[in-house]
């Protein structure tokens, strides 16, 4: 079956949203401490991790080394190498759908997007988990039972630091892209069902 005209628009929109995600951070982590009233922060983009202030990342790493946390270095995070290509692949596949105009491809895209999204979110949680738990045993400050996993969403106290984590505009854009595809798939399904019912009724009348 062909893709509905309205859904062409939705797929087009999702491509634009996904493209937009290259220009905004996907996730943001902010830290505040008594001696950092102005706060420290870092932003995770599709392809990089940057400090909110120019030297924030360096200063976060400096503070973290006392409790034995690993240095955050974007070169050591492989996700940042392939995430831009994955989003590009999704954009490319959406574009193919517009060309070949087949509804099964739309279904496929939706499933793919969902899978990648869920894996991505889990991967991020897991990175936070290992970052907060894999502590250097030679760390100068060790507090029994204390780990430093940053919150996935919302704020948490970690020693003297309040760490807050929340999605960035990039994440919202990708979410909107997914939402467009979801609506498209949903609408396609309803039209298909209506169509097949109508066909059945027609057959009955003919009989």
């Amino acid at each position: 079956m062909r893709v509905l005209k309205f859904n062409h628009v939705l797929v087009g929109l999702s491509i634009i949203f996904m493209f937009g995600a290259y220009f905004f951070p996907i996730w943001q982590i902010r830290l505040a401490a008594p001696q950092y009233p102005e706060g420290l922060g870092m932003e995770i983009w599709l392809n990089k991790i940057v400090g909110v202030g120019e030297f924030d990342l360096q200063n976060i790493n400096l503070l973290n080394h006392y409790i034995g946390m690993a240095t955050i270095n974007e070169h050591n995070i492989s996700e940042l190498q392939y995430m831009p290509y994955m989003v590009f692949a999704l954009m490319f596949f959406s574009f193919i759908i517009l060309c070949i105009d087949r509804s099964f491809a739309l279904n496929l895209l939706f499933k793919g997007l969902l899978a990648i999204g869920l894996v991505g979110v889990f991967d991020f949680w897991y990175w936070e988990y290992s970052y907060g738990h894999n502590l250097n045993p030679k760390a100068s400050i060790k507090i029994p039972g204390m780990t430093y996993q940053p919150p996935f969403l919302g704020c948490e106290n970690l020693l003297n630091i309040v760490a807050c984590s929340y999605p960035g505009i990039g994440f919202i854009l990708i979410g909107l892209a997914g939402f467009c595809i979801f609506i498209a798939v949903f609408k396609q399904k309803i039209v298909e069902i209506l169509k097949s019912t109508a066909e059945k009724e027609l057959e009955e009348i003919v009989e």
Binding site: A32, F55, N59, L114, I141, V162, C164, Y166, F182, F186
Partner: protein, 698 residues
């Protein structure tokens, strides 16, 4: 499939709700911040009320002491959540609220005070009177290593060698169109004649130029309207060029003075000695340059026109009038450019401290000396009673006010009258060494009669009033320009020298406060032995009447001060030195580059400091080695300096700001183990920031 869809929907809507409610964005620390801002606002509102009250009551010409007022203020205070002692008189309550800067809030003004015999500049916040910083200028400062460390020790180099001390008097903020531009602060060294430039971004001394052919660089450094030049006059007349004539020859005119023109590069601030004008050997005191119509002119008071060389306290007070020297610097500049000055051999230094690099010292051996006879029309003497001190030009540039120290009035010259009189032969009294002396009345605008005893120095509020400090009668008098009537007076505690209004010597004053810089302290504070800090008093200029708000001790002896609105400086203030801009020849930009390099018996240690260790971990040298520790602070975080101190060092410790490189020279004299450590509490493991040097025997 349906389940997956539901899950996706649920996740997405949860996220949208989160963001929509602003829950995840409104962070707890931000909330706390906004609460604080609210409290400050309330206090500020209360302050405005207090100021209004002062103004209101002031206009009624009576003290604010009615019970109703106390009640009103108390109510407002309580509303703002500040509990007050009910027994305080309301004047003090108001003064307290006007000078109270709540924790975490900022002052309205930076106030730069000279250190006098400390040789430095101190930076205060006004209205709170809190000391923020001492900027080392002309004197060694072991607290941070200034003058000891390799980077700044040559800042104190002069033709007399390394001079560890001076007497700093008159800070001046750079001007553009007569208004403070907040770029640089200049200050004189009185004893070994020098002028320093302080950068108002780094708040550090960045250049010092020595003034040759000068003794007592007191009337200095007074700026022209666009900081084209700094003027420097001579307090002591001496033989120029220097020679060992008999001291008694002073009275025979063998001693001379000079007026030096130091040019300031409008982009870099670099100071150069343009030339010097030879003047009769009187003692020149304070100066100020013109504004607007009087832009081309600078005015210098003089005393000891008697040219006495002993017992000046009586011998220099014989003449009823000394002179104000009116000097056309634009005309002098032309004569210098036209080659009318003669080149003389001398020696002076200019020391420049570029950001994060060692000081560059340059020695100069030539200067231009101009005789006013060879450049007619650039100088006139305006007779002025009696041993005048201050020489202050009002914001319009029309009035030149002298502090007639030993006179019982304040003489005010008119620039426009001076312009009419200067080439009119009838107005001339005599000519001294080619300099016409004009008749007193020909340039006089008025005398402010019976102001006080010992009027010294005047500043202006830009609203038509002058404020004069009176040393002997220990008070500040306010008088009106034009009508010359005294409108107000307040006592100072005690014996005020200079006073200071923000921009009070510029074309655009900010007349909110007046600061009195006093010479005698006595019983103002808890006694601490015979040597006391000098006191300063802050007065409100908000109403018609001046009100004493605050009394606080100062560093050294502030002779003069400059108040600068905080907004002009605070956003530009340096926070760190960027490591990627660090061009120090001995910088070490990462730990992996830390090393020890030996050249015969000279050892260079390229060292890094970062929370909480130095690299290299240990250092080994030999007896007889001269060791240079070049320590680079790798931090790029605001207010994380490291210190460096090594046992037995004959230099001071140093403080190294983030991104900075500092060098300590240390002689390895005896074999043994020598510890070094961080001397500025940097981190939770600061105490552990300690390491060893091994000095091996021969």
């Amino acid at each position: 499939m349906l389940k997956a869809k539901t899950l996706f929907w649920a996740v997405l809507s949860a996220l949208i709700i989160q963001v929509g409610c602003g829950k995840s964005i409104e962070l707890p620390f931000l909330k706390k911040g906004s609460k604080e801002v609210k409290v400050n606002k309330e206090v500020k509102i209360n302050k405005e009320v207090a100021i209004e009250n002062v103004t209101k009551e002031g206009s009624k010409d009576e003290l604010v002491d009615s019970e109703m007022n106390i009640g009103e203020n108390m109510e407002k205070k309580e509303e703002a959540g500040v509990s007050m002692n009910l027994s305080l008189p309301s004047d003090e309550v108001i003064a307290a609220s006007m000078t109270y800067v709540a924790p975490g809030s900022y002052d309205e003004f930076y106030w730069f005070m000279s250190g006098g015999y400390s040789g430095q500049v101190s930076v205060y916040g006004i209205p709170s009177g809190r000391l923020f910083k001492i900027i080392p200028v002309f004197s060694l400062f072991p607290e941070n290593g200034y003058g000891f460390e390799e980077e700044t020790k040559d800042m104190l180099l002069t033709s007399y060698g390394h001079i560890p001390w001076d007497d700093s008097h008159h800070p001046e903020v750079s001007l553009t169109k007569g208004e403070q531009d907040g770029r640089w602060l200049f200050i004189n060294g009185n004893n070994t004649p020098r002028i320093a430039r302080i950068d108002l971004k780094s708040f550090e001394t960045t250049q010092i130029i020595e003034i040759p052919n000068s003794a007592g660089n007191h009337g200095s450094p007074f700026l022209t309207e666009n900081t084209e030049y700094l003027m420097a006059s001579t307090r002591f007349s001496i033989p120029i060029l220097q020679s060992n004539v008999a001291i008694q020859d002073a009275a025979k005119g063998k001693f001379k003075g000079t007026i030096s023109l130091v040019s300031v590069d409008k982009d870099t601030g670099d100071m150069n000695l343009k030339g010097q004008v030879l003047v009769p050997g009187y003692d020149y005191d304070i100066a100020h340059c013109g504004k607007g119509a009087s832009h081309d002119w600078c005015f210098f008071t003089s005393y000891n026109t008697e040219q006495a060389y002993e017992m000046l306290e009586s011998n220099s007070a014989k003449n009823e009038k000394d002179y104000i020297l009116a000097f056309n610097w634009v005309g002098a500049q032309k004569c210098f450019n036209d080659g009318k000055a003669k080149n003389v051999t001398t020696a002076y230094y200019r020391n420049t401290h570029p950001e994060n690099k060692p000081t560059v010292s340059e020695k100069f051996t030539k200067t231009k000396l101009l005789d006013p006879k060879d450049c007619p029309g650039i100088m006139y003497y305006l007779p002025t009673p009696k041993n005048p001190h201050g020489c202050d030009v009002d914001p319009t540039g029309e009035y030149i006010v002298a502090g007639g120290k030993l006179a019982s009035m304040i003489p005010v010259h008119s620039f426009s009258k001076f312009m009419q009189a200067k080439d009119n032969m009838d107005s001339r009294e005599s000519v001294i060494d080619g300099i016409p002396v004009l008749k007193y009345e020909s340039t006089l605008a008025a005398e402010v009669s019976k102001p006080c005893i010992g009027p010294l120095h005047t500043e202006f509020d830009g609203n038509g009033y002058g404020y004069t400090s009176c040393f002997v009668s220990s008070e500040v008098v306010k008088w009106k320009l034009g009508t010359w009537e005294i409108v107000d007076r307040v006592p100072s505690y005690y014996s005020i020298g200079h006073l200071s209004i923000s921009g009070g010597d510029s074309a655009k004053p900010n007349p909110k406060y007046l600061l009195a810089l006093n010479k005698i302290t006595k019983d103002r504070y808890l006694p601490v032995g015979a040597e006391l800090a000098h006191s300063a008093q802050l007065y409100s200029l908000g109403g018609d009447k001046m009100k004493l708000l605050l009394d606080f001790p100062t560093v050294g002896e502030p002779h003069y001060a400059q108040g600068v609105p905080a907004s002009l400086l605070q956003d530009n203030a340096q926070r760190i030195y960027r490591l990627d801009h660090n061009a120090h020849p001995y910088a070490t930009k990462q730990e992996s580059e830390a090393k020890v390099v030996r050249a015969k018996n000279v050892v260079h240690v390229y060292m890094t400091a970062i929370r909480s260790h130095f690299k290299p971990d240990t250092v080994e040298v030999k007896v007889g080695d001269v060791v240079y520790f070049h320590v680079t602070n790798l931090e790029q975080d605001y207010d994380i300096p490291h210190g460096f101190a090594v046992k037995g060092s004959k230099n001071s410790g140093v403080l190294i700001m983030p991104g900075q490189t500092k060098t300590v020279k240390w002689n390895a004299e005896k074999a043994g183990i020598y510890p070094f450590y961080c001397s500025d509490f940097c981190s939770a493991l600061h105490q552990e920031m300690q390491q060893y040097i091994l000095v091996k025997g021969k």
